[in-house]
């Protein structure tokens, strides 16, 4: 069939002159925002690597540096709160670079009228989370905005840590033959938050998995001591956008294909059920205490065994392999032996009509 060529798109919806919620989803819209606005403005080669943390050398020491901002509704949820989440998020971004987190900053944007006791509870939770993660909050800032201009409390945390000598993690390192390992069940955080959000309110026992991953990463690196630390190619904590988005980023960056075996992906029964009800795919739902690692085949069993010894890695699984076919694409083999694409979403997943 002959295509009718015209130079302009009849519905040029891509061009949006305003920020949409989807720009914060971690999907294609977020990536476009980064490309069009920030990379162009900041022009930093370190930033352009687009890892979860910047890694650079100062005086012979390799440092990891990262920042993250937390906006979550409700502020308190089963399994955590905005305070613990703000600490875990930044600790985990450092850990994914192979760094031991040292110091954190905390910036607060508070809405006029916020209950003082709520803030007290958030601060106590942050202090506890920092202590458990073996890090310290050493600087901070507070701003207050008028009522209606914020949603209770927004928190920014920045963290700095030292990268373990010999560790060089980058998504670009993934090679055909490598194994894909996840540290545990997927989708717990996102579904815990969703179940408590106004207007949905389904009863469930799903608890957020929010947790600091630096100790688990330490265990994984220790398991390789003596052999090559390069066997762990890269790690990601699949937060917003879920496992699917993290793996798509890795596949695109390393120009490899990733094939998942759907039946080996650990997902809790309650999470699967809730996702099914709302028409969501758990592979795109956020996690706050899970990691996915790309590991050389000869080291995969040792790393997996070490992870399963750690309380945060009990349900760790090898869920797929890196391949040379379909560079840039993530696919999944279904229980029926068929294959499908696990695409990057453009914006947030939206619940279906029926």
């Amino acid at each position: 069939m002959a295509a009718t060529l015209s130079l302009s798109c009849p519905i040029p919806l891509q061009v949006t002159d305003r920020i949409l919620l989807g720009h914060g989803s971690g999907g294609k819209l977020s990536a476009a925002l980064l490309d069009d606005i920030f990379l162009r403005a900041f022009r930093s080669p370190v930033l352009a690597r687009l890892d979860d943390q910047a890694v650079f050398e100062i005086g012979g020491t390799r440092l990891a540096f990262t920042t993250d901002t937390f906006v979550v509704k409700p502020l308190f949820f089963r399994g955590g709160d905005i305070g613990s989440l703000a600490v875990h998020g930044t600790v985990n971004d450092l850990a994914m670079g192979g760094a031991e987190p040292l110091y954190l900053s905390a910036g607060f944007i508070l809405e006029e009228g916020l209950d003082m006791d709520v803030l007290r509870r958030i601060a106590a939770s942050m202090a506890h989370a920092a202590q458990v993660a073996g890090t310290e909050i050493v600087t901070g800032d507070t701003k207050v905005v008028e009522k209606g201009c914020g949603d209770g409390a927004f928190i920014n945390t920045t963290g700095i840590g030292i990268v373990r000598p010999g560790v060089r993690l980058s998504a670009a390192n993934a090679l055909p033959g490598d194994r894909v390992i996840v540290s545990g069940t997927l989708g717990d955080h996102g579904m815990a938050i969703l179940s408590e959000r106004e207007g949905i309110g389904f009863d469930t026992s799903i608890v957020s998995d929010s947790a600091p991953l630096n100790s688990l990463v330490g265990t994984m690196l220790d398991a390789l001591a003596g052999s090559s630390l390069h066997a762990i190619r890269c790690m990601r904590d699949p937060t917003r956008g879920g496992l699917a988005s993290s793996l798509n980023e890795i596949a695109a960056c390393a120009r490899v294909g990733i094939e998942l075996v759907e039946t080996s992906i650990p997902i809790r029964e309650e999470v699967r059920g809730a996702c099914e009800m709302l028409g969501l795919d758990p592979l795109y739902v956020a996690n706050e205490g899970k990691l996915v690692a790309i590991v050389a085949p000869e080291a995969a069993d040792a790393v997996l065994a070490a992870m399963r010894e750690h309380p945060l890695g009990l349900d760790a699984q090898i869920i797929g392999t890196v391949g040379a076919k379909h560079p840039g694409l993530v696919t999944a083999r279904t229980a029926f032996g068929t294959s499908r694409i696990v695409d990057m979403l453009s914006g947030d997943q939206l619940p279906r009509i029926c």
């Binding site: 069939m1 002959a2 295509a3 009718t4 015209s6 798109c9 009849p10 519905i11 040029p12 919806l13 891509q14 949006t16 305003r18 920020i19 949409l20 919620l21 989807g22 294609k28 819209l29 207007g199 949905i200 029964e269 699967r272 059920g273 099914e276 709302l278 028409g279 379909h326 694409l329 696919t331 083999r333 279904t334 229980a335 029926f336 032996g337 068929t338 294959s339 499908r340 694409i341 695409d343 453009s346 914006g347 939206l350 619940p351 279906r352 009509i353 029926c354």
Partner: protein, 369 residues
């Protein structure tokens, strides 16, 4: 897992596939009507398990996809008003009207909210007496009873700040249109289980008699679909044109009588335009005159606009099962889920979007073991 794994058992799937292979002696073209079924078929690659003689084409049963541009433009116009809280199912928000979608209205300051049930919108109307709450009542016979219930409840409570923007469509008139088209290739239909759980299936018996085609009322899980296909192939090979019910755990011949009564109390049948297809007579619902006070189109006096579809888009052919999404010259290049040109690329349940999402590469069609 309870109520999921039972319907996704690979061993049972193999048995069903083997049975289909055994029965089939010549090519058959089958259509699943419902977008939810298209989604399951693509996600699990069910069509790739079938023998080459069994071809599946995808029908017009994605409510998001077939909602016409004109209604979307009205939704955008109403949602942009400062006094309005516009409430919608989530997947309608990203559907482009002729200029904008509802997410962009929200970004520009419109009060647009996602709900999982129209009763949430009624509740919002109760809690916000100084605002006008409008629910976007979209969908097939499946969502109509709940929307009717919301209107009925609002009238009972005397709520004057609640209304609905109606764009309900009906399955049987669309099937009739397909069957009367000279280009029709479909020889058997997988009838939509959820629609039939409300409506029953006597309407389909009439269609089967009139057009000599078999129907199997089918569920939405992978094994439901395989069994529905097996039953259809059996009918076709045996020369039968019956209406059979695979989805007996939800559907009876009579359907849900109380739901239907409530629905017919509030709605009446009317002509409706389908995005990508055009106007189909007696193919939708509108509010009855006695419920006019709840009709957002009347209350807000939104103008009757006319919007044209882009000419390159072959949505009409795809929605009638005449062409496959990949046959379209703009598929995957100028038309993607981020930048949809036509109805079936708009929602995740549209045939083009399902192909794009799960099936962009030809060799993924191979069954791998």
């Amino acid at each position: 897992m309870k109520f999921l794994d039972e319907y996704r058992d690979p061993k049972l799937a193999e048995t069903l596939v083997a049975d289909i292979r055994r029965r089939v002696t010549r090519p058959w073209v089958l259509m699943e009507i419902c977008g939810g079924q298209t989604h399951t078929l693509m996600r699990y690659g069910i069509d790739n398990l079938l023998p080459p003689q069994v071809e599946l084409v995808h029908g017009p049963g994605c409510p998001v996809c077939v909602t016409p541009l004109e209604i979307l433009d009205k939704a955008v116009e109403i949602a942009s008003r400062p006094e309005v809280i516009f409430v919608s199912y989530g997947d309608m928000l990203r559907v482009p009207g002729s200029t904008r979608d509802l997410l962009q209205v929200k970004a520009a300051g419109g009060d647009v909210r996602i709900a999982y049930s129209p009763m949430e919108a009624v509740d919002l109307a109760r809690k916000n007496p100084d605002r006008k709450v409008v629910f976007f009542a979209v969908g097939f016979e499946t969502t109509a009873p709940a929307n009717a219930m919301a209107v009925w409840q609002a009238r009972r409570e005397g709520l004057t700040n609640f209304s609905i923007l109606v764009s309900h469509v009906l399955v049987p008139p669309a099937i009739r249109l397909l069957l009367e088209s000279p280009a029709n290739r479909v020889q058997g239909f997988i009838a939509p289980g959820h629609v039939c759980s409300v409506m029953g299936y006597s309407e389909y018996e009439e269609l089967a008699r009139q057009y000599d085609v078999p129907f199997v009322v089918t569920g939405f899980e992978p094994l439901d679909l395989l069994q529905g296909i097996q039953m259809l192939v059996a009918q076709l090979e045996e020369g039968r044109t019956d209406v059979e019910n695979q989805y007996a755990r939800s559907v009876t011949r009579e359907g849900n009588e109380p739901a239907r009564l409530r629905m017919m109390d509030v709605f009446e049948v009317t002509d409706r335009k389908w995005r990508g297809i055009g106007e189909i007579s007696q193919s939708g619902y509108r509010l009855r005159e006695e419920y006019a006070a709840f009709d957002a189109e009347k209350l807000f006096g939104v103008s009757n606009t006319h919007a044209d579809e882009p000419p390159e888009c072959i949505a009409a052919l795809v929605l009638q099962g005449i062409r496959k999404p990949v046959d379209c010259p703009v598929f995957g290049n100028r038309c993607t889920p981020e930048k949809p040109m036509g109805a079936p690329m708009v929602s995740s349940e549209g045939a083009c979007a399902a192909y794009y999402r799960y099936r962009r590469h030809d060799d993924l069609v191979m069954v791998q073991r």
